[in-house]
């Protein structure tokens, strides 16, 4: 497969480069190792969202990126990551947007006849989320929250180690640029580290 070739050239290229530099680079400097982002324990209680909203967030994340033959949003710990982002990264306006936004989803579930979003059936939840998604992409959309939330879930999932390296493909040091590689039916997309992927 094309990947093997990439891998081989890359290994030789890096070895060659290190030799050129007189072997002065340590593995860490080559960026082969990094400080792993401290994993948040699965059962830790949320730091920003209240337990009910956290459960809602988990459910929504699970429906947007479910587990299939690969892990889904829950499997990579997306809800805890997002809660951490809300606690430490988000501005006060952003925090308020999430609290109000999750509430409004609950209101929509009740408008549809359920006692709450979480009490709805999976099917009802999917119908509601699809409606919110369609509304977000409709021409005169007024409520951006579902778009914001979906973006965050995608970011949490694909920026995780499993998302980038198992669901997608990731090369830390490609070595070569191969301009035209025939693609197999099951070729996964590369994870790209965009310059400034703004949430």
């Amino acid at each position: 497969m094309a990947d093997n070739r990439t891998h081989l050239t890359r290994r030789t290229a890096i070895k060659g480069a290190v030799a050129l530099l007189g072997g002065t680079l340590t593995t860490a400097q080559l960026g082969l190792l990094g400080n792993s982002f401290a994993a948040i324990a699965e059962d830790a209680s949320p730091r920003f969202l209240c337990p009910k909203q956290f459960t809602m967030l988990s459910r929504i994340a699970d429906l947007i990126i479910p587990e299939t033959d690969t892990a889904g949003a829950l499997g990579v710990g997306a809800p805890h990551f997002i809660d951490m982002m809300l606690a430490d990264w988000a501005s006060p306006q952003r925090q308020a947007e999430y609290v109000a936004g999750l509430d409004s989803i609950d209101v929509r579930a009740r408008d549809a006849g359920a006692s709450s979003f979480l009490a709805s059936t999976t099917e009802q939840q999917m119908v509601l989320l699809r409606a919110l998604d369609n509304e977000f992409f409709a021409e005169h959309s007024t409520d951006p929250f579902f778009g914001v939330l979906k973006k965050m879930v995608l970011f949490a999932y694909y920026s995780s180690e499993i998302g980038a390296t198992v669901e997608l493909r990731f090369q830390r040091i490609p070595g070569d640029y191969l301009p035209c590689v025939p693609m197999a039916d099951d070729s996964h997309a590369w994870f790209w580290s965009q310059y400034n992927y703004a949430l």
């Binding site: 094309a2 990947d3 890359r10 290229a13 890096i14 480069a17 050129l20 002065t24 080559l30 960026g31 082969l32 990094g34 792993s36 982002f37 479910p66 299939t68 982002m85 430490d88 990264w89 988000a90 501005s91 006060p92 952003r94 999917m126 998604d133 992409f137 979906k150 995608l154 970011f155 949490a156 694909y158 920026s159 995780s160 180690e161 980038a164 669901e167 997608l168 090369q171 830390r172 040091i173 490609p174 070569d176 640029y177 191969l178 301009p179 035209c180 590689v181 025939p182 693609m183 070729s187 996964h188 997309a189 590369w190 994870f191 580290s193 310059y195 400034n196 992927y197 703004a198 949430l199």
Partner: protein, 578 residues
Amino acid sequence: MRGFGANTTMPSEISNDFDAIVVGSGISGGWAAKELTERGLKVLLLERGRNVTHRQDYVTEGKAAWEMPYAGQIPESLTESDYAVQNQCYAFSDYTKHFFVNDRENPYATPDNKPFSWIRGHQLGGRSLLWHRHSYRLSALDFEANKLDGHGTDWPIRYKDLAPWYDHAENFAGISGSHEGLSQLPDGVFQPPFPMNCVEKDIKKNIEAAFPDRKLIMGRVAHLTEPTKEQIALGRSRCMNRDECQRGCSFGAYFSSLSATLPAANRTGNLTTVTDAVVDSVIYDSDSNRASGVRVVDANNHEHRSYGARLVFLCASTLGTTQIMLNSTSERFPNGIANSSGTLGRYLMDHIGGVGASGVFPGHQDMYDAGRRGGGLYLPRFRNVMDKDERFLRGFGYQGGAYRSSWSRGNNTPGIGIDFKAALQRPGPWTFDMVGFGEMLPDERNHVRLSKKNKDSWGMPILEIDCEHRENELAMFDAIAADAEELLNAAGLTDISVNQDKAAPGLMIHEMGTARMGHDPKTSVLNKFNQAHDVPNLFVTDGSAMTSSACQNPSLTYMALTARAAAAAVEMLQEGKL
């Protein structure tokens, strides 16, 4: 490894015995230090920012998103409070923010309705760490442009004066690119170009068939693809196609002061580097009519001191240098050193850009690329080359490239659930986009001056920047958009969308022109050797020297001008003329 870093010396250990002072360690200052030390001069390099040690201080290099706090995002409140301007730059992120200035600590002023985005990097290496490495020569056409249409003043040099210095700069820096034989974009000394992917090759074929006067070429970028012996000896090696260059590159594969010029200057044994030294002004000695040295404010404890030398090179970036010069007042020069013409601070230019187009390429769905190429394509100027365009003067080029989008297209695609996830696991359609880079006319009204009210925390009057796009630029923006659409149609793309968002002045990060070169001391600051008309031992070789902007990315020209000026200065020094 240490040997590649700067020999940073404590201020107290420094004697006053220097042949030359170079202010600023970015692209221009690095070159000045290299060329002057290699000619035997004892050089003091002064840099306002902190020391950065090549490799050791590239703290985010190679890190994946999940190894970064917040997966690479900067806390929103911090962006707002400290990086409101820098955040407008595409390369600004949590991986790179330590190489950008803090806007709160580095204020400047603009009129309410005229934004100017001043993107800066204050550290050893300046913005050479951050640049995108596109490197193009100006052409004969560019050096004659002012004279021909009467805007700005005539360049005191022509292409042939700079050509050997372009050779010299390319040879040392290492530029990869293709030979094309275009009069408006002269060829140079190139390492092999990066390859185009199959979509880019098709688009090239389609565009060139439809428009015989237009060419789509591989970008000429300062990445080593076949390092020379000299580059290898400096600890540099070939590019590994990561496209994470702005975090710093331990391979030394892209040109920066830290990978190239400063190691070269250090190995002469003639360089002393002092960081955290904010140059406040140039000291003028009226008896000898010479610059006798510079005044410095310590960046950390704000103490004042001064250094003397026989020669002063200002390379603090266009606006940094201009600020220092305007702040260097004396009886002879009440409005800034070497400013008898009154042109210092005027004729500010940037490139115009932001506007462009993108579309989807229908073919090659079974092909993908691998590796992250650090440079894209270039479509050189074609307007006002052979024919005269009635709508605007001068010209523009485009940068662009073809790629298959990845997961982030999910943000703009309806869908959730199993099918959505499965679709995002595959690469998206081939997308091609291009964005214009246009020439801005030199206009006296676009200017900077020192604030009479506000000083920064180092006691320097802050800059007031007053710059806007005018009639010619606005007409050119329209042509950039229309031509982009026409080109992408001819290229065979579908779903073409035109981006009309004009980048604010400054945001193309090619600010220049505020201490221009010219023949006449009455209408320009510098002569044909970047030497101040008024003060013979004062040289200015960064972008402030530019008499016109052309439309090519300018840094290669700063390198060539700097090397040429350094050679001339040393010759004059040896002949006793300084």
